[in-house]
């Protein structure tokens, strides 16, 4: 029992460390929920003018697509930022857990980039809804 205790304590510390690294290195964020069905043959609700503000309703299909392109390039930038930091986090995590504890300070959970992505996704959803309402031609490559 005495021999097992240091091992147990060591394992407990390691587990705690892994949890801390996991917390700092950032959790996966879920894909946003799917919108309501507005356009299938069985749709229970159809979109109305009242669902959009006046500035949005005046946008043409090509303007909507231009807005979406801007949002998509912003999204790519933020995703790249998260991906870059994730590699850095993993390296810092390994080093912190195995060799040098202060290496954990080099981790970054990309909270700002994730918040920006959340806003971009909200804006994209609104534009997708507008595309549906305006019956803009489908673009399966998007």
């Amino acid at each position: 029992m005495e021999r097992g205790e240091p091992l147990f304590s060591c394992l407990r510390k390691l587990l705690l460390l892994i949890m801390v690294v996991g917390f700092i290195a950032g959790c996966a964020t879920s894909a946003r929920n799917l919108p309501l069905d507005y356009s299938s043959i069985d749709a229970k609700k159809r979109l109305n003018v009242e669902d959009f503000d006046t500035a949005a309703i005046e946008l043409t299909c090509s303007q909507i697509d231009d807005e979406l392109k801007i949002l998509e390039s912003d999204y790519a930038l933020q995703a790249q930022d998260i991906e870059g930091k994730r590699v850095q986090n993993q390296v810092a995590g390994y080093l912190g857990a195995i060799f040098i504890l202060p290496a954990l300070l080099a981790t970054d959970n990309s909270a700002e980039a994730k918040a920006k992505i959340e806003n971009i996704n909200r804006a994209k959803d609104q534009l997708y809804k507008l595309r549906t309402f305006k019956k803009c031609p489908s673009n399966s490559g998007r």
């Binding site: 290195a25 996966a28 894909a31 069905d37 507005y38 994730r86 031609p137 489908s138 399966s140």
Partner: protein, 129 residues
């Protein structure tokens, strides 16, 4: 014995599947989750995936699909959007869908069961004549 265990562990780590995935389908109709017969099932390669709606063809919704791709060990590379699309296609094919609309993705990060997890959602639809 210990060396053998280590060797087996090492081999598994290097040779095992890089990712594993989970999925679920939620039916939107009153009949619950639809399941296509073998004849109705499509090939995953034929399924169109789009992040928007399809406005120029009439369609029926078959179900909402949610998939998660996880990397097997900390040493494997992170799951990608393409892998999520592949899983969405597989699930849609089982339902007999022609397309997945409103495809959307989470961001890669640590999940309860994996060091790298990425999820995706989409709505499986079938075009009407």
């Amino acid at each position: 014995m210990r060396r053998i265990m280590l060797l087996i562990g090492g081999l598994l780590m290097v040779s095992a599947c890089a990712t594993w995935s989970t999925s679920s389908v939620q039916g939107v109709g009153d009949s619950g989750t639809p399941v296509a017969s073998k004849a109705e099932q499509k090939s995953p390669q034929d399924i169109v995936i789009t992040e928007t709606d399809i406005t120029d063809r009439k369609y029926k919704v078959l179900g909402d699909i949610a998939v998660t791709v996880n990397k097997t060990t900390i040493f494997h590379s992170d799951p990608t959007k393409e892998q999520v699309n592949e899983e969405l296609r597989k699930e849609a094919a089982k339902l007999g869908a022609d397309a997945v609309i409103f495809a959307r993705y989470g961001t890669v990060g640590i999940a309860l069961t994996s060091w790298g997890s990425l999820d995706g959602k989409g709505r499986a639809i079938v075009f009407l004549p």
